[in-house]
């Protein structure tokens, strides 16, 4: 339900970053979403398509990179990266763990169009989609 508020914040940040660099349009937005954030990537993309209208990112594509979570085990001292939810140390089985990552929701990068950008004539055009992060 709060995905729309999140994409508005995302667009606000993206526009601010783009304007600082004199960009006329944003063509791609990449964000990093931790599994613990309890945000559905599909809903985020759908909300983005609604909220982008009338912004610099009106034609932009959203790339959501979902990242897993990190556990620090207080029992064995190990650190584990889990691709999805889990609250048990895979090393020793202890549940006495501290969550040290997985709740990120960050703007990572943008693809923008800058007017009169000095381009090297031999430069290859950027691929339409790039992996982010």
């Amino acid at each position: 339900m709060h995905e729309l508020a999140i994409v508005r914040s995302l667009l606000e940040s993206a526009e601010s970053e783009a304007r600082e660099r004199g960009a006329a349009a944003i063509t791609g937005v990449c964000c990093r979403l931790g599994v613990l954030r309890q945000v559905d990537p599909q809903s985020l993309s759908e909300a983005f398509e609604i909220a982008r209208a009338g912004t610099l990112a009106a034609q932009a594509e959203l790339n959501v990179r979902v990242v897993g979570m990190t556990l620090d085990c207080r029992h064995c001292g190990g650190r584990a990266e889990l691709p999805t939810w889990g609250f048990e140390c895979p090393g020793c089985g202890s549940t006495d763990v501290r969550l040290s990552g997985g709740d990120e929701l960050e703007l990572v990068s943008l693809e923008v169009e800058v007017p009169n950008e000095n381009r090297c004539p031999e430069e290859e055009p950027l691929p339409k989609k790039r992996s982010c992060g």
Binding site: M1, H2, A18, R37, Q38, E88, E106, L110
Partner: protein, 226 residues
């Protein structure tokens, strides 16, 4: 042209407001507890039960989070304590910005404790720092013993867990030991209390927990000001 942004958090605005709230509360030596749980789990009834038991020496204020109506604030106001109804108008959780507005309406200089009742929802509230010092997760026996496993993050971030509506235990197939075991695997250090509005004394352990948080934080606040 590609711009790398270097991890600009989309929760920056909320987290800044949360830090502001925490500083404001600390400045007034006020402890805040964020009370979270599903709709109808008994959060307001719990407040109605424990507030009168806090004692006249503890001054409490309440922030009530809901999508609509002042029904909960009206119930708390009947206890003769300062209360502000925060309406999210469709939002599924309280935000630190909304709480900041609420705190500014409370007489913080006169208070020791602020109880923040979040929007009834076992999911999203757990992800939003409001600037509170402690988090309480509430679960009722009528919701089912599977909820700690189904909504683990709510319990994982809690400092204390309360199981309500114990008077209905016999009318349900709620497995109290099983639910408690799941909660303990998620938060080994958090105390688990059981309560029922039919048994007023059952709220005493929660009151004691709140009072002990109050003392701890007040001594911390006075230590940091030295």
């Amino acid at each position: 042209m590609r711009i790398d942004v270097l991890k600009r958090s989309l929760f920056q605005k909320n987290d800044h407001a949360a830090e502001f709230n925490r500083a404001l509360l600390d400045e007034h030596a006020v402890v805040a507890v964020n009370i979270m749980g599903g709709a109808g789990c008994g959060k307001t009834a719990l407040l109605e039960s424990i507030i009168p038991q806090l004692g006249s020496h503890v001054c409490v204020g309440v922030l009530e989070g809901d999508l609509a109506t002042t029904k909960d604030a009206d119930r708390i106001a009947a206890l003769d304590v300062p209360v502000v109804q925060l309406l999210t108008e469709g939002g599924c959780h309280l935000t630190a910005t909304l709480v900041e507005q609420g705190l500014k309406c409370l007489p913080l200089t006169d208070l020791d404790l602020v109880l923040i009742e979040n929007v009834g929802n076992p999911v999203c509230p757990a992800n939003f720092d409001l600037g509170e010092h402690f988090r309480m997760a509430v679960l009722s026996v009528t919701e089912g013993d599977d909820k700690p496993a189904k909504y683990p993050y709510l319990f994982k971030v809690a400092n204390c867990v309360v199981i309500t509506k114990m008077d209905l235990l016999d009318a349900t197939d709620f497995d109290l030991e099983g639910a408690a075991a799941t909660i303990q695997t998620l938060v080994p250090d958090a105390p688990i209390y059981t309560t029922s509005i039919k048994d007023r004394a059952s709220g005493r352990t929660i009151v004691d927990w709140l009072l002990s948080r109050l003392k701890g934080s007040l001594s911390l606040a006075s230590a940091s000001s030295r």
